[in-house]
Structures are given as structure tokens and as C-alpha cells.
């Protein structure tokens, strides 16, 4: 999202990591993990996100395993009612999030919606990243005509806006009666382009480094060089863009479901819940506010985690921290490079 088309380059000034880390002999992964832990907002976001995941999955159950919540998201109960949730003293009551107009328990519907959003997010974030990384790695490593062909294919897919191609594959999944998993796999297959471009740029510069030369002299195969030598060095870019892709996947899924081309009734989705109930805004506002709250929280939390990861992987982007706030503001800014590329990408 914030990666844009601009190159992400390290700041020329500021400390380049903690010297004490090197002295203590920590592994690279450990250093990054420690750096991530220093970013309070991201750690808290990750914690809340995990809580929401556990809560949503345990409430409605996974597959055949039933959850602890007494109502099903498909079963009709008595007539429509207002939320019974009270925070002080804390009590869930009979229908904590109320009921919709035909009497389905809204807590079960919202939890099921969160569950589906999370599935879509993980599959798009994971599978989209794998496809994008492989395409970008091969294009960047082999260059020449392989690069040209792969990048033209990327260009072809990138011309179609995400929501448009998403709606088309969503309609395919929907009219075929295919489930959430299949929908998210199809969506993942059309969301890998930006990662491919970023990984390719990273590979183009990494393949010129000495350690690649050394590996080649030692007789390593191309595959080994790509996956064992270069990819671990590009893992920062991959993980950060995977997180950002996951955040935009939530918005894509809810948007598509809102339009009617994503997840469909009787399955539940946060976007679908908004679409079904927006006309009842003035009479039963909770039907709007609960899914809205969770859409925004999920996307916001994932974005915060992504920013924390970006900091942890590339500390040179960060200036010295006088106050925690400054650190946050700084971390949230995209790094704009003014260095001229050799030519505009065609």
C-alpha cells in the first residue's frame, strides 16, 4: 500500500543498528525480533490481533469442531433484539451483539465473518507472496528475456484494478458455489504483482553482490543460489510487503462481499453484513457498527504490525528516537528516494 512505485532506500544518516547486538553475538533473526519488540504499538497490535483470531475461531468453531458460543450463525432464534453486552459489570447476556432482522444471533454472524476475513487474509497474504516472490526472483535473477517476459505478464495483470479482477474471480467462485477457501485462492492468484516487482528490484541488486559470485564459483546451482543465498537477504522486503498485502486483502474481501461478488449468504462476511444491514442504520445501528468496528480494527492492526516489521528489518530507515511518538510518526512514513533510476520502467 505505502510501498507505491518508489524505491525504498535506507536513509543515509542515523545509527545503523545497535552495536551491542553484534557484541552479544545474537543471530540476525534474534536481532530483528528484538527490534520488533521495541516497537510498542506494533507489539500491542500483534497481541490484540492474536486475541481476536483466537476469540473468533474458538467462538464459532473450526470446521466440524463446535465452538463455545451457544448459537450458530445459520440458526434462527426469537425476534430481533438489541445488544445485551454490558462492559461494567461485564456480561455477555443472551445476544451480546444483538440479533439481525430475521433473528439470527449477530455475535455468531460477526465472529464467523471475522473468521472468513482472516482466512482470506492469510491465503492471499501467503499464496500471493509465494507466487510474487517466485516470479520476481526468477525475473530478477535471470534478467534478459526471462525478465522481459515475466515483467510484461506482470504489467498485463497490473493494468486491471484489483477490485475489478477480484470481482470477476469472486463471481466465478460464487456462481460455482465454491467456498471461502477457493475464493481466496483465486483472489491470491491475481494479487501477486506488486510483490513480484519489489522482489525483482531487490534481486537485481543482490545478484551483483560478492557472496553470489562466491556461491557460483563454489559450484552452487541456480536454484540453490536463488533460494539459499539471495532470498534470505531479501526476506525483509518479502515479509513487509506480505503484511501490507494482507491488510489490503481484508479491504478487498470486505469490499467484494459488499458488492455481492465475494462471500455470499448463508456464509457470513463483514462486508456482506454491512451490505445487508445498511438500510437499517437508523433503526438498528448495531447491525452496522459491529462489523464496521472489526473491519477497521483488523486492517489497522495488520497495518501497524507491518510497519513494526518494516522498522525491524530495516533500522536504517529509522531516525534516532527521542520519544516513542517520534518513532511512530517516522516509521509510518514511506521512504521516498530521489535517486534517479537509470530509465523509467517501460
Amino acid at each position: 500500500m505505502s510501498q507505491g512505485m518508489l524505491e525504498v532506500t535506507p536513509e543515509p544518516h542515523g545509527p545503523t543498528g545497535d552495536r551491542s547486538d553484534a557484541v552479544a553475538g545474537k543471530s540476525q533473526g534474534r536481532i530483528i525480533f528484538d527490534r520488533f519488540l521495541q516497537n510498542r504499538i506494533s507489539v500491542v497490535s500483534l497481541f490484540v490481533l492474536v486475541l481476536i483470531v483466537l476469540f473468533a475461531f474458538s467462538a464459532t468453531g473450526i470446521g466440524p469442531i463446535p465452538g463455545w458460543w451457544k448459537y450458530d450463525y445459520r440458526s434462527l432464534n426469537d425476534q430481533a433484539g438489541a445488544p445485551t453486552l454490558s462492559l461494567w459489570p461485564f456480561a455477555l447476556g443472551e445476544h451480546p451483539f444483538g440479533q439481525n432482522r430475521i433473528g439470527v444471533d449477530y455475535f455468531a454472524l460477526v465472529m464467523r465473518g471475522i473468521q472468513n476475513s482472516l482466512i482470506v487474509m492469510v491465503v492471499i497474504g501467503g499464496l500471493g507472496t509465494v507466487v510474487g516472490t517466485v516470479v520476481g526472483a526468477i525475473a530478477g535473477y535471470y534478467r534478459g528475456w526471462v525478465d522481459a517476459v515475466l515483467m510484461r505478464i506482470t504489467d498485463v495483470f497490473i493494468v486491471i484494478p484489483a477490485i475489478v479482477i477480484g470481482a470477476v474471480v469472486g463471481q466465478t467462485a460464487g456462481s460455482g458455489g465454491l467456498g471461502v477457501w477457493f475464493l481466496s485462492i483465486l483472489l491470491a492468484l491475481v494479487s501477486w504483482m506488486s510483490i513480484a516487482r519489489l522482489v525483482r528490484a531487490e534481486f537485481l541488486s543482490l545478484r551483483e553482490r560478492e557472496f553470489v559470485e562466491a556461491a557460483r564459483v563454489a559450484g552452487a546451482s541456480d536454484l540453490r543460489i536463488i533460494f539459499k543465498h539471495i532470498l534470505p537477504n531479501a526476506v525483509g522486503v518479502v515479509i513487509v510487503s506480505a503484511t501490507l498485502l494482507a491488510a489490503s486483502a481484508i479491504l478487498l474481501e470486505t469490499g467484494l462481499s459488499y458488492l455481492g461478488y465475494g462471500i455470499r449468504s448463508p456464509e457470513s462476511s463483514l462486508g456482506l453484513l454491512i451490505s445487508d444491514n445498511q438500510s437499517a442504520f437508523s433503526t438498528r445501528p448495531w447491525l452496522y457498527w459491529w462489523p464496521a468496528l472489526f473491519i477497521v480494527s483488523l486492517a489497522l492492526l495488520v497495518n501497524f504490525v507491518g510497519d513494526g516489521l518494516r522498522d525491524a528489518f530495516d533500522p536504517r530507515q529509522k531516525r534516532f528516537k527521542r520519544r516513542k511518538m517520534r518513532e511512530f510518526v517516522e516509521a509510518a512514513q514511506p521512504q521516498v528516494s530521489l535517486k534517479a533510476p537509470k530509465s523509467p520502467t517501460s
Partner: protein, 513 residues
Amino acid sequence: MAAYIARRIGVSILILIAASFIMYVLAAGSGDPLRDLRGGNAANEAQLIAARVSALDLDVPAPLRWFLWLGGAAKCLVPFANSCDLGLTLDNAPVATILPTAMVSTLQLVTVATVVAIILGVVIGIVTALRQYSGFDIATTFLSFFLFSLPSFLIAVLLKEFIAIGFNDFLQDGAAIPAWLIVVIALVAGLIWMVLIGGSRRRRLIVFGVSAVATGAVLVYVSLTSWFLFPGLGPVGLLVVLAGVVFITTSLVSGLANRRALLASAITAAFVYIAFFVLQGLFTISSAFTLIFIAVAALVVGIVVGFLVGGSDRGQAVRAGAITGIVSMLLVFLDRFMQAWPSYVESGRINGRPIATVGSGTPGLTGDVWVTGIDSFTHLLLPTIALLLISFAQYTRYARAGLLEVLNQDYIRTARAKGLPERTVIMRHAFRNMLIPIATIVATDVGALLGGAVITEKVFAISGMGNLFATALGRTDLNPIMGYFIVIAIVAIAFNFLADLAYAALDPRVRVR
């Protein structure tokens, strides 16, 4: 350069053709175009199905049917032949005739949203960069994160429920602002100005006090006179606003110390002020073209005045005059629109609830250019806000990061070291270089906005291209889908191309191959 452009256009056309193939096959596989006929209970079902199959060549497999479609679409390239054939919809309407009307409302929406998002985003980004780590900066960063995580359909529902209904109720209740709201707005305005202007503690307190009191006074006046029911600047208000325009334009373009630029700006504003009285009669019978002509005339007057009084440093005076001319004339137009507001609100079709939540115009409303202009404004206001908020957040972040990056460059230090005033450093040296990366974002952003219009148009029931696409997809109506696709793909590719050219033109270090 010419070779580069030719090669780029060639590659773009190939990409377009390949993307259209993918889109065609995917869309064809997404459902059954005969579903509505099969489900219906018409007696002549078989006959209807046969008619549709032959009209749309449904018996040809999709990959081959794409060639038929491409053959028809290629005729659009023949200039002035009017032989465009984008196929038929399921209802046998030719796509080439329904597409242009839909295009107009979408492009209107997207253009306004893009321009407003760029201007607001860049201005706020610059301010946050210049006041780095201030409360305003932190608040803007939080806000941009929040906007990134807010889907447009959520915000659209909120805008409809609170802004539209709230403002309409407010007008019907006599347009009196409650006292607590006046106090809150005044305090917030005071805080914002205090942070923006900065300075010593004493100066901040003075700025806070003055701006809070001034805002409060204006709001009390607005509330007491029911200004929102009968808005207008009037001769006195316009004079005050024009003085403000002269002051701000000159201090941004050249600094108030440049007396000639100030003079050029002031004389231009005086001309516009005279025109305000002289042209009122013409305005009543104006069309949109007259207005464009008058605006251009004001621009020319500003340039000429700047040229005549410019003296040794003509460039600055010309710029000050031109900006003052066009902005002042737009304010005069604004005043005239405000004069037409009561007649719009009270007209039978509106019934005192002007802010609309659906459609892109009031059906059956007739009136002069002012009334129809207001009608477009009240209909497009909310969809545009819903559409621009996300890209606004993006521009803010890039403008801020870009300006901070530029301010770290050596040439900025040189400019400061040789004693240039801070205004010149920011406006002349930093601002222009900051715009280079922004140019590339505009290209990607236009594509995103066109996609976003699908949702916005659906929520606000605007019959634009996005709505056309969404409806057609639901019925697997292939030709409108492809018509929609071809338009947005061309726009997206063209903007990318323009961004690359702009990048090369703005930055001499970039050479095109």
C-alpha cells in the same frame, strides 16, 4: 525521444490486448449469460435463448469469441468513421452508445477526487513536514493510518447518515449553530492555527486567542443571520476575501517585500472586484462556456498586469498576478453560486433538503448554469469525499516524506547558506523537487480511484461506469464489462505513460531510452 514514445505506445497496445484477452476469458467463465432466461417461465424460452445465443455469438467458445470482439473494438480506432462496435448488452443495446454517458459521470467524479486529493494532500503533507513532530503532525499520521484501514463503503454509509441527513436537518431547523459547537470549532481552529504558525510561547498564545475569537465571531454571525439558508459573500465580504487572496498569494509567490509583485496582485484583484459589479448582469444569462472564457480572461489580465508593473523581476509579478486573477475570479463565481442557493433549495424538486444521497443529479430539474451547477455539487459532494479520503492519506504521507528528504539535500543547505529567505528555499528549491516523486504516485492512484469508483458509485447509486460494470458482472453481460475494462485500462496506461514522461521532463537526471 520520439523512438521511446513510439516504442512505449507499441508495448502499451500489446499489454492492453493481452489484458483484454485475460479479462474476456475470466469474465466469460464467471457465470452463465442465459441464467435469467433459463430461470424465467416465458413460454417461448427456447426461442429467446436461441435469439440471444445468435445475437451474442454465445455458441462460439470464449477464447475465439474474443477475436470477434477485438475485431469490432479495433474499428473504434478508425477516426471519424463512427464505426465503433463494442458489441451488444443482454438487452440488445449497443455498448458503444451507453458507455459515453456513463463515462462522463465517472470521469467527473474521479477527476474532482484526484485534484482535490492532490491539492489537500500535498498542502497538508508540506505543513506536517515543516512542523515535524508537532501535535498536528502526529494527529495527521494517525489519521492517515486510520483512513488506510477504512473501506470506502463504510465511510459512504456514515457520510449519508450523518453529513447528508444532519446538514439537511440543520437547514430545516433554521440553520442556527448550537453554542457548544461554536465554542468547540473555535477552540479547534485556534489550536490548528497555533500549531501551524508556531513560534515562541507568547506568540502561540496570541495566535491561539486571536484565531479562536475570530472563528467564533464569524460562526456567531453565520448562525445569527442564518447564513447557510441565504449564503453569499456580498461586496464587503468579497473585498475582505480578495485582500486575503492578495496577501497569501504574494507572500507565497514572492514575499511581501517584493512591492511590485504585491502591486500586480492588488491591481488584478481590483480589476476582478470591478468585474464583480459589472458582470452580474452577464452572469444571469451565462453558460458554462462563458464562465470558462471569463476565468481565462481573468488569468490573462493578471498576466498582463504582472508583465506591465513587473519591472526587473517580471516572472514573480506575472505569477502573482495570474494566480490572483484566477483565484479571485473563482471566488466571484462562488459568490454567484451562493446567490443562486436559496432558489435551488426552495425549488419544488429539492424541498429544502439539498444534500443528496443518491444519483448524480435531480431528475427533472431545470434551471440556469448556476442552479444545475449547485445540483451537481450537492450530488457529487459526498461520493467525492468518500472516494478521495484514501488517496488523500497517501498523498499526505508521500508529500511529507518527500519534502523531508529534499530538505536534507545539499542544495537546500547551499540555498540557506547563501542567505535566501526560508520562503524561497521552501517554495522555489524544495517544493518543486518534491513534486517529482508525487508525479509517479498520481499515475498509480488514478487506477486505484477508477477501481474504487465501482464501490462508491454502487453506494450512491450513480449510473457511472463502475455501476455499469458491477451490474453487468452480476448478469455475466460480457460486452459492457469489456467496454468498461477497455476505458479504465486505457486511462490507467495513459496515466502511467504520462507519469514517466513527466518524470523525465521534471528530472534531468532521468534519461529515456
